[in-house]
Amino acid sequence: MLLIKCPYCEEERPELEFRNAGEAHLVRANPIIEQSDDDFAGFLYFRQNPKGLQFERWRHIHGCGRFFNAVRDSVSDKFLTVYKAGEPRPDVSTLLSPAAAEPAEPPVTKRPRAKKVEVSQ
């Protein structure tokens, strides 16, 4: 169960309070009636579905009820940031600065040990 920060409530709350609402920053054309078939299909159905950083919408449905956006890594499921609906898409490069991306090393002094080989799971 994910832990999600609502940018309106400014609280981290369990996923059960939220409803995912799909890819963010899809623009409904205006006037939509004049949109081409392909563009309309793109808006309606075709998705980035990235493996990596993903801009997505959530609603704090069992909380304040507001829709907001989030940047989440679709591999680790970690949230990089959340922001209110209507706010501009954040700059990914600042989100990925080393300080933001790397998890804190566990505060343990380890004795040196034999060379490790990373094993992929």
Partner: protein
């Protein structure tokens, strides 16, 4: 009679920590036995000299007790309190005994000592890993009728209880600063350290008692006291602290995203007579700021021929049985090891007076100190030797020893054999946390590498060797300040071997077990490699190594090493199978806990529910709601009751509970503009006090919901939705309001639960309710069809809708929910003498179908446009935008050949079509037939005196008058395509 005889002949006086006087009686396969309070089933059986406790999965080989913990693969038994509280596949090494415990062995017939299934062992040459993929294919039919049923019957272990469980399970959510998993020396130290900083700490351990390895490590001194005493004191200290929660018999089984950890606490399985209100197990779902993993290490077996014989056991297990439970696992115990730790076991056994004839060590040069210590007790130590085979069948009787480099064989008679292949750090939870393990080549073990969450591993599970180093590391992990504890003694967790032992290597054909429970031998692993299974995942799946109920705690690393050797590749290149939750099996009941029966899903009832019950109504489930379906009177079946209700509505009046309809209050200066965008209909010009039927689409152009909307003021609308649609319509509206049309000044409030809705429908509707209503002119002129007024009814504020879902003059009385039943009863009392009849959802469905009113979700199915449903009139002609307007223009949505809603009349008026029946133009075509439509609604209409149906038919609107066919299994039904209105086609009754 001495206590030792009471509680088993292998109990050693003075050994262990149990109290000899506190005896407990239990049975095993009907045999009455005695143990001591605090015994596990395993220790109590061993105390009574019983090693043979089960049969293996595939070959039904006799099996004993391998371990003393949750890693146990062999000793699985069935425990039955009563018919509904029967538990298969219980690990005897985990189950504590209680007075009256009844235990049965599993997977054997007719008895444990004589098991017909053991023929599988005889035929085992025919049954190597994956044999079933290569045979049972001829003759083709025999798989289903002969082979598979036999395979299924032979497989499986225990038997599922026959009766529903009467035990209760409970559930807790918790937050903490630090969660410590494991209450051994490391975990206790970390918890004490963390607690000293004032942090909120939860510490759990799967055992009944704290201490971990301190329970058997006889030489440990911490802070000047013996290790186990220190552990008991530490737990007592933790228990006394307000900021600490101590959970024993509690397994952390799953480590999920963002430090969310699932624990299961076993509360009553060790009690003789648990109180009836006591839960059996409790699920803890903990969100921790930091997790400290102190999960220790698990000892591995040696992989040699017949290493599965009862009496062959892990060295640490023998030590626990002796030092904790005072039980000698045998009188003459051989030792087979590849690391130092087994020496301590040998020495403990010897000192307890048990004959330890020989320690066989595969190493040429073991640590001199441990060898000397053993030899000083007159234990023979054979270095550079291996046990090539264990003798005996239902109990080990001998060990055959040879030099590792070959040479003459020597046979030593034993009645138990302990072994140690070394220690595997428990990185299960670390790996579940999505941490990446790293291969420690020097010590041949996987250790925590890269962390993915705020988590730290300490002690043996982190590869930290030496007790003092472990305690230092643990103290640091807890974040405490000051001096750490001082300790001496204990075992190092390094050394040993992985893979097959000498005598069980490549080119041998012996049965050297890697995975005991699933009967996977070293040669099976090699066969898998030979057949091209070069990924460890393939090896695992082909052999089933590591897939038994112990999930490979003792077998995974051995299997990996054997595969790597066969592939001639380094172990990390072959890979490691993924660790998955749960760490040990978790009872479904604990996960489900309260969510059963009524609490499985909330039940929604209307304010008038109790009244319907008093009238004997039958109910139907509609979403989470219970709706009154029909009201049978004495002697009536459903059909008769529904006919009566339908006729009453058309001739006098009916009363119907419509409270389940969704309601949304739309308020604000831009409300009309908002509805213009959310519905196909126009709203700007709807007069105050008027109602309109609205259609809501999704952006794709298909019908999403419908309902009547009333305008109460310039800036206030009362919107209704379908019963099932209310939450998603609200969500859909909020989505557009917040994200697409945020410039609109509108507020949305769900009012579904706030209003009770009483529909009164029929020619006498006005006559019935008018006397109860105040402040509203209900005359036909002042309050025509499709209007809404506010006033009072029975003195209660109401929004009175004049509308109809039956085609009759009708009203829907909205009153605050708390008054719903009182007003309902008042209306009913008033109307009863005038023929007012309660009707349920079934009659409602028929009455609306007689009028051709659709039900979204029944006559539409998510692929139907307003045009398809004959609702083109409900689309605002001059609108330039609404949700769905563009979707409706897509090529396929405007093409010919779409299904359109029509009426159907069966040529034989007494034939009622089946809903869902398919329609064809030519009933004589061969299968597969070309289907051109299906029946969406179909009923017997007592008011029409015939059956009626609605259907979606390709180009239906062009087929009026055509004859079509409904082929049924017992004949073809001829139907005529008609309009959708079957009753009062001109709609005159609405305005009566």
């Amino acid at each position: 009679m001495s206590a030792s005889i009471h509680s088993g002949s292998n109990r050693i006086p003075g050994a262990g920590r149990l109290t000899p006087a506190k005896t407990v009686r239990f049975t095993f396969d009907g045999q009455s036995l005695t143990g001591l309070e605090g015994d596990t089933l395993a220790s109590a059986l061993l105390a009574n000299g019983i090693h043979l406790v089960g049969r293996s999965f595939k070959y039904h080989r006799p099996r004993g007790i391998l371990s003393a913990g949750s890693e146990e693969p062999n000793a699985l038994v069935d425990i039955e309190r009563d018919k509904s509280r029967k538990q298969p596949n219980v690990r005897a090494t985990v189950q504590e005994i209680y007075d009256g415990l009844r235990v049965k062995s599993q997977n054997r017939w007719p008895s444990l000592t004589f098991d017909v299934g053991a023929l599988g062992d005889v035929f085992s040459p025919m049954l190597p890993a994956g044999f079933y993929y290569k045979t049972f294919m001829w003759p083709k039919f025999a798989w289903k009728s002969i082979y598979e049923p036999r395979i299924r019957a032979a497989a499986g272990l225990g038997v599922t209880p026959g009766e529903p469980d009467t035990d209760r399970y409970s559930n807790r959510f918790a937050h903490c600063d630090v969660l410590v998993v494991g209450a051994g020396a490391a975990g206790l130290t970390a918890a004490l350290s963390a607690a000293s900083t004032g942090a909120n700490v939860i510490i759990c351990d799967e055992q009944a008692e704290p201490g971990g390895a301190l329970r058997y490590e006889s030489d440990v001194i911490i802070d000047g006291v013996p290790g186990f005493e220190w552990a008991v004191a530490a737990i007592a200290k933790l228990c006394a602290m307000d900021n600490v929660t101590v959970l024993t018999r509690t397994t952390a089984f799953g480590y999920y995203a963002q430090n969310f950890v699932g624990l299961v606490e076993r509360i009553s399985d060790h009690l003789s007579n648990p109180a009836s209100d006591m839960p059996r197990e409790r699920l803890w779902q903990i969100r921790a700021k930091k997790v400290v993993l102190a999960t220790g290490a698990i000892e591995r077996q040696m992989v040699f021929a017949n290493n599965d014989r009862p009496g062959v056991m892990l060295a640490s297990a023998a030590r626990i049985f002796l030092n904790q439970y005072g039980v000698a696992i045998g009188r003459k115990v051989g030792v087979y090891t590849s690391n130092d730790s087994a020496y301590a076991a040998a020495i403990d056994l010897k000192r307890a007076g048990i004959d330890v004839p020989v320690i066989v060590d595969t190493r040429d040069n073991p640590t001199p100190a441990v060898v000397d210590a053993a030899r000083s007790l007159d234990i023979e130590v054979l270095t550079g030797h291996a046990v090539f085979s264990a003798g005996g069948k239902r109990r080990v009787s001998s060990m055959s020893i040879q030099p590792t480099r070959g040479g003459s064989e020597r046979k030593v008679a034993v009645d138990a054999l302990i072994m140690s292949g070394g220690w595997t750090p428990s990185v299960h939870l670390f790996s579940q946390s999505r941490g990446k393990v790293a291969w420690d080549a020097a010590n041949e073990r996987f250790l925590p590498g890269t962390y993915a969450q705020d988590c730290v591993s300490i002690g043996a599970c982190n590869g930290t060797d030496g007790l003092q180093a472990t305690l230092d590391e643990a103290f640091g992990a807890g974040g405490g300040k000051g001096k750490t504890v001082v300790a001496t003694g204990g075992t190092d967790w390094i050394g040993g071997m992985i893979g097959s032992a000498p005598g069980a290597g490549a080119n041998t054909t012996v049965k050297a077990f890697v995975d005991f429970q699933n009967d996977v031998t070293a040669k099976d692993v090699r066969l898998a490699v030979r057949e091209g299974m070069h990924s460890i995942e393939h090896v695992k799946r082909f052999t089933t190594n590591g897939m038994a109920t112990d999930q490979g705690k003792t077998s995974n690393l051995h299997g990996l090493a054997i595969a790597a050797e066969a592939l001639n590749r380094p172990i990390p290149a072959v890979g490691l199978t993924t660790f998955r939750a749960p760490f040990t099996p978790v009872t479904f009941g604990a996960i489900v806990n309260h969510a059963r029966h009524d609490l499985f899903d909330p039940t929604r009832r209307t304010p008038m529910h109790g009244w319907h019950q008093t009238q004997g109504a039958a109910f139907e489930d509609v979403g989470q709601w219970k709706r009154a379906w029909y009201y049978p009177q004495a002697g009536e079946d459903m059909h008769t009751a529904v006919n009566r209700e339908c006729v009453a509505v058309r001739n006098q009046a009916g009363i119907f509970d419509a409270s389940t309809l969704g309601k949304i209050e739309v308020v604000g200066p831009d409300s009309a503009k908002f509805l213009e965008l959310l519905y196909t209909n126009p709203w700007e010009k709807l007069g105050i006090g008027r109602l309109r039927y609205g259609i809501m689409l999704r952006e794709d152009g298909f019908i999403y919901d419908d309902g009547v909307v009333g305008r109460l003021a310039e800036d206030r609308f009362h919107v209704t939705t379908t019963t099932g649609g209310a939450p998603r319509v609200m969500h859909h509206m909020e989505d557009y309001l917040q994200t697409e049309f945020p410039h609109l000044d509108v507020w949305l409030t769900s009012t579904t639960e706030q209003w009770a809705v009483i529909a009164v429908q029929g020619p006498r509707a006005r006559e019935i309710i008018a006397p109860l209503v105040e402040g509203i002119d209900m005359s036909n002129e002042a309050m025509p069809h499709m209007s809404v007024r506010e006033g009072t009814i029975c003195g209660v504020p109401t929004r009175l809708f004049r509308m109809s879902f039956t085609g009759e003059t009708g009203y829907e009385i909205n009153v605050p929910s708390d008054y719903g039943r009182a007003v309902w009863e008042a209306v009913y009392e008033r109307g009863k003498p005038l023929g007012l009849t309660p009707y349920g959802t079934e009659a409602m469905h028929i009455l609306r179908a007689e009028k051709g009113y659709i039900i979204v979700g029944q006559d539409t199915d998510g692929t139907v446009t307003p045009q398809d449903a004959g609702l083109t009139w409900a689309i605002g002609k001059n609108k330039t935008d609404y949700v769905g307007i563009r979707g409706l223009l897509r090529r396929d949505l405007v093409a010919n050949g779409r299904k359109q809603l029509v009426g159907l009349k069966t040529v034989d008026p007494t034939t009622v079509l089946e809903e869902g029946a398919q329609i064809v133009a030519n009933p004589n075509q061969p299968v597969p037939m070309t289907m051109i439509g299906h029946v969406t609604s179909s009923y017997w209409s007592e008011n029409c005196g015939r059956s009626i149906a609605l259907a979606l038919v390709i180009d239906g609107s062009k087929r009026l008058g055509e004859t079509l066919y409904v082929p049924m299994p017992n004949g073809v039904i001829e139907v005529e395509v008609t309009g959708t209105v079957f009753f009062d086609e001109k709609g005159e009754r609405l305005n009566g």
